[in-house]
Amino acid sequence: MPRYVVGAILVVLVIFSSIGITIIAGSTYMGNIPPSKWAVEKEKMWAHTGWNIHDPLMQGWGAPTLASKGKTIFIREGCWWCHTLLPEQTQDWTYFGSPPTAEDVQLESPSLFGSDRKAPDLLHIGSRNRVKAWHYVHHRNPRAVTPGSIMPAFTYLSDEDMDALVAFLDSLK
């Protein structure tokens, strides 16, 4: 192998690793400290905001919370392609509530802000609509409770999936 190839590979490796290290180190700056005692305590105190990487640590492997299962379904079915979790700073206060703070997404991955809102924002849906029965009916047949809605009718979701999804929505305070 010619030397310049070895050199080029080394250069690329160095660039990759240095960018990786920079970003991981730099990310701590943006309010993303590794799970401190305080963060773990906070997680215990608060109702879960959904799935996060520390869930397994606290719940024990294989025992995720119902709401965290709901978040995986929220991602799997692509709900986030229309429902943002990002009330905007300039408007939205009347209907969708206050914009998120860093704490709203702390330790969440993915953060699911969304980019293409074609449906109501859900960041505070758990405070806005607490009627679980409404959610169950709405997911099976959206146009039965909201005429004019373009939400897909999720007739294929199992009852377990629905329970988890509604638990997740309820956790979004």
Partner: protein, 468 residues
């Protein structure tokens, strides 16, 4: 590495394979859009019991097929064709290029089945799960980059034409961008850091790969077909370096409403406006290259596509520069306006240039004339009119949604108000969708029955004389 460079594959094999695969991906990718666009206009039009026919499942597949399948593979084909031509040499390894193409097609199959089944990271434009990320990096992007770089290193000319700067740099940019964007899939990067990296990646896939490579292709085919020399290499320099400087930093302007630091938003917003510099440098350079040759615009089908793509770059970049500033972003953020803008970039600007490149390069590679110019014209007008109607419908719908946000009417009212726009989008979208199989048919028939013409082998292709 002799097993890679052994010459048992005919010249142009890699490029031909990439071009045909890309066209197939274009057909599939646009077909998938029937499901998404119809679902938004008439939500119960398809059976609701089948998850594969739901909007949330199909949308990412559509996005990945048109971006990773069509645009990326058309780029790869163009790179395998143009790089040797400008270096006056053969492609470093046709064998690597050939297997890269098939690895890519296998990758697209994996992408389809993972995303349609809901196996996704939930991060826009970085939707693929981590094993697929590794596959994309190692078997799709890296072999292409190696092939392009090694061809450039074994060139038989001294100078590098503008196109080659972009190809060489973009191959590095896309690997870095994809790797950095995938970091939250591998490491515990969470919260705002995750959001920022997701959007940094989403921005730079466009900024450091799709935009510069599309431009690089235009830099080759427009002077080549028109017979003019490039208007200015200095403007080319400005374009190249300002892309690297300004297009790599504004990732945060996708998060103007999110609680990321305000200084970061301001920084991203200012560099977002500065993207006007590379964008206008490119447009000016291309339009001035056409000096005295504008009659060819309607006569040559490749030029017609490519120049239309260049013209779409004007509204695209003016929109892009200003819609992300605080002044406008609060109004149009997250509305259909943005979807219209994304299609203007990927379908209007990028796709038009690549289709131009394929109408130019593929018949040359096949040593045949285009089977039916009439069909190519029909393809052009269906796509162009379909796209314009589509874009106007979505932009209008976006403005309606923006107004609804300001007056804070109940959300459902804005959904009902945008229904006609969604119908318009679906109908004009159908025009685009029906045009693409014509393209595939035309190219297959060119390969089979096109009139033979002796074209010079790629290696003797005359390099474009440099102007200063």
């Amino acid at each position: 590495m002799s097993f890679l460079t052994e010459n048992d594959y005919a010249e142009g094999t890699a490029a031909k394979n990439f071009f045909f695969s890309a066209i197939v991906m274009l057909v599939i990718g646009t077909m998938l859009a029937i499901i998404t666009s119809f679902r938004l206009a008439w939500p119960d039009i398809f059976p609701n019991d089948i998850p594969w026919l739901h909007f949330g499942r199909v949308r990412p597949v559509h996005v990945h097929f048109v971006i990773f399948g069509w645009i990326f593979m058309a780029f790869a084909g163009a790179m395998c064709y143009i790089t040797p031509a400008l270096c006056k040499t053969k492609l470093w390894s046709e064998r690597l290029g050939f297997w890269n193409c098939w690895a890519w097609n296998i990758g697209m199959v994996v992408v389809f089945f993972t995303l349609i089944n809901g196996l996704t990271t939930g991060r826009e434009y970085q939707d693929l799960i981590w094993p697929v990320d590794i596959y994309v990096l190692l078997f799709m992007l890296l072999p292409l980059a190696v092939n392009v770089w090694m061809t450039m290193l074994s060139r038989r000319v001294e100078g590098l034409y503008v196109t080659l700067w972009f190809f060489g740099a973009a191959c590095l940019f896309i690997i870095l961008t994809y790797f950095i964007g995938a970091i939250p899939d591998f490491f515990p990067v969470t919260g705002l850091s995750e959001a920022y990296m997701t959007w940094w990646h989403a921005h730079n896939v466009l900024g450091l790969w799709i935009t510069p490579v599309s431009a690089a292709i235009a830099y080759y085919i427009i002077p080549k077909i028109s017979g003019n020399t490039l208007y200015s290499h200095k403007i080319g320099h400005l374009h190249f370096w300002s892309i690297a400087a300004f297009y790599s930093t504004p990732g945060a302007h996708h998060l103007m409403g999110a609680p990321i630091p305000e200084w970061l938003k301001s920084f991203a917003s200012v560099s977002g406006v500065l993207i006007m510099i590379p964008a206008l440098a490119f447009v000016v350079n291309m339009l001035m290259t056409m000096k005295d040759k504008w009659w060819m615009f309607t006569k040559n089908i490749s030029l017609q596509w490519a120049l239309t793509g260049v013209l779409f770059a004007i509204p695209l970049n003016i929109q892009g520069a200003f819609q992300q500033t605080r002044t406008l972003n609060w109004y149009i953020h997250g509305t259909h306006w943005i979807v219209a803008h994304a299609h203007l970039a990927l379908l209007g600007f990028s796709t038009f240039i690549e289709i131009g490149a394929i109408y130019y390069g593929l018949p040359k590679l096949l040593k045949r004339k285009i089977y039916s110019l009439k069909l190519a014209k029909i393809h052009f007008w269906l796509t162009a009119i379909g796209f314009l109607g589509f874009w106007i419908a979505l932009t209008g719908g976006g403005l309606v949604q923006g107004a609804a946000k300001v007056y804070e009417i109940p959300y459902i009212e804005s959904v009902i108000a945008t229904h006609p726009y969604m119908v318009g989008r679906a109908v004009f979208g159908l025009m685009i969708i029906f045009a693409q199989p014509l393209f595939l048919y035309n190219m297959v028939m060119t390969a089979k029955y096109g009139e033979r013409q002796e074209s010079k082998p790629v290696i003797e292709d005359k390099i474009i004389p440099a102007a200063t």
